[in-house]
Symmetry: C2
Subunit: 420 residues, 2 copies
Amino acid sequence: FIPKSFLSKEAQHVEGFAKECAVITHSRLKSVDGGVEVDPDSRLEEELIVRPTSETIIWDAYRGWIQSYRDLPILINQWANVVRWEMRTRLFLRTMEFLWQEGHTAHATEQEAIEETLQMLEVYRKFAEDYMAMPVVTGVKTASERFAGAVDTYCIESLMQDGKALQAGTSHFLGQNFAKAFDVKFQDSDGEHKYVWATSWGVSTRLIGGLIMTHSDDNGLVLPPKLAPTQVVIIPIFKNDEQKSKAIYYAEPMIKELRANGVSVKLDDRDNFKPGWKFAEHEAQGTPVRIAIGPRDIENGNIEVARRDTLEKTIVPIQGSAEKITKLLATIQNDLFEAAKKRREESTQYAENYDDFKVMIEKGGFIYAHWDGTEKTELKIKEETKATIRCIPLNGDDTPGACMVTGKPSKKKVLFSRSY
Amino acid sequence: FIPKSFLSKEAQHVEGFAKECAVITHSRLKSVDGGVEVDPDSRLEEELIVRPTSETIIWDAYRGWIQSYRDLPILINQWANVVRWEMRTRLFLRTMEFLWQEGHTAHATEQEAIEETLQMLEVYRKFAEDYMAMPVVTGVKTASERFAGAVDTYCIESLMQDGKALQAGTSHFLGQNFAKAFDVKFQDSDGEHKYVWATSWGVSTRLIGGLIMTHSDDNGLVLPPKLAPTQVVIIPIFKNDEQKSKAIYYAEPMIKELRANGVSVKLDDRDNFKPGWKFAEHEAQGTPVRIAIGPRDIENGNIEVARRDTLEKTIVPIQGSAEKITKLLATIQNDLFEAAKKRREESTQYAENYDDFKVMIEKGGFIYAHWDGTEKTELKIKEETKATIRCIPLNGDDTPGACMVTGKPSKKKVLFSRSY
């Protein structure tokens, strides 16, 4: 909960969040005629806002904690539920209450704060790409898309299979805005009192939405091996208890070796479901590798290995299979990333003029185009095409050019897309 | 957020929580004369309650999820922040917003639900005693202390060093109360439609308060080794870089062996703090074992080992020290539990009559006494002595007797205390 007056201290911040606040005005219900009503006597003196983000609370605390340069840098990281009053909710991507991780730092120097901002951007990029196998573009937001109260908002932007962009994480350089609003000064080693420099950054359960929409198909979830709770499921195929025992006995050394390799393996030997039903269930749950072992496989010394990502099945000798499967998991992790990257590249277009842009945007995907840097042009494009500037990429083509709308000079192409 | 109407469905439940609700009535602020005000146009049609607990939300979902006996049992566990409008807050023990773990199950039979309730009580007891080294009494609450909407509330009750009781965790058998309020039925294997049987259970960050108040002393925190983030801190004592390097080199094989034993070790070789300052800091942070290594120790082939719990220091040969320290950690874990248990037993009294009880309660601690089982007597005792019945113990003395207040029959002694 944030007292209304806290939220008001940083003008831009309150403006940015005022329209999406859950406001608590009372602290009690009372029974009336068998039902309940809000008790008017419990009206609060000052309304409380359910935190849409915690900068103001953190900075009120920092004022008390920070005295000297010896107290810096300071970092608070928390997992918290926050609330934004969304009109159109979308499961995992945009919900009214969501769980996220938010970090807040204060530094003695501007440079250190900027370095922290970029370091966290890199942490998020690495997690998205190396663990979620979700390729992202890193960049900086335009002024109109910036976090309320930030000097610069950096982001990772990803492209979903339906051609829409997803902002998957943000890292903000807050400058001295919150330090000034909450009067957070420190005595530097030179004896002078100075305002601190700040950052904040966060990712949310939206990443789960991103994971689903990056890899999944009509059969259900597809999970990258590094994040799959079960990496390999083994399904013995049997008609009686003898066949079942035989299959389990046959699989045991392989299971043991897989586990010794650090692979999480589940043996699905339930009696009350048919193999086909189990196949479909594990497919829907996204288990990266499925192994089937039937009486014929045992006779021939084989197993059947199915990849969730490509749905390919291959017959593999059980001898040496554990090593092959361990390698296959690394291959799947890599292939999922490469496939997503290829899809993104195939959906990335380069517009040289505004007419082309308007045609391209209907196809969806990422579009790189020159923009004159003004909010006016940005808004015009948004109104006419529903495309927003996702970011000014950090590692992009730096060739200058002319804005596709106004013809004015542009330092480099920026990234447009429709988004969630 | 819980719509007011959800909370109203189970009459006892709404009664229990109505007086401690944060009520959201509006969804927007607006700028007025440079400040912000609640936008009256954003008034909600139905007020939302910030969840004090999630039964009603879970049961609204269960209605859709549960159709057949094959869907049972079902378990949802979540970590969530909840809000109760507390008048007198107390850090870690009673705060308006707190983080907790809450579990909710539904079962086909009454017996299975009761077993689940008791199983979770045992999970909480085990965690409190074996990990937190905090002895607890397990028992069932009286009707007046029961969770709103439960048939039976089981709890673990602990005694703090100041002689007050702390309810450290609860496990509720909800009977069919929520199933009936939310119309959750299943088709059983016999084809009949029946209401499910339910449980819910939770512990919160209050356990952190319990941990602090069970073990800590005037020098700061005391942490049981199983929960200490750093189990052993090593402080080299040096006047120059050469002495420092020598101490670190000397300590290295021991550190390596400790880590190989699974012990978390921190080498505190900071230059900018004196040893005494570091000693005090690690003492305040509760690190179970502190090792100091000075030039004289190195000469003699020794180290100095200090226990946080007893503040004892001993000189130990560095040869074989890793094994000794690993064992010492287990000893400290055990000793902390035994010390807390001894303190509790020394603060446990047995009242044979109400006059004695009134004298005893002023000393604080747990008091076992006979009670006639009526709410009237319970309330009288509470009003006259501020003591509440913490629980009817599960594993206590089962000797019947006469109520200390009314003389009426009592099945067994129950546990009284003043509490937080």
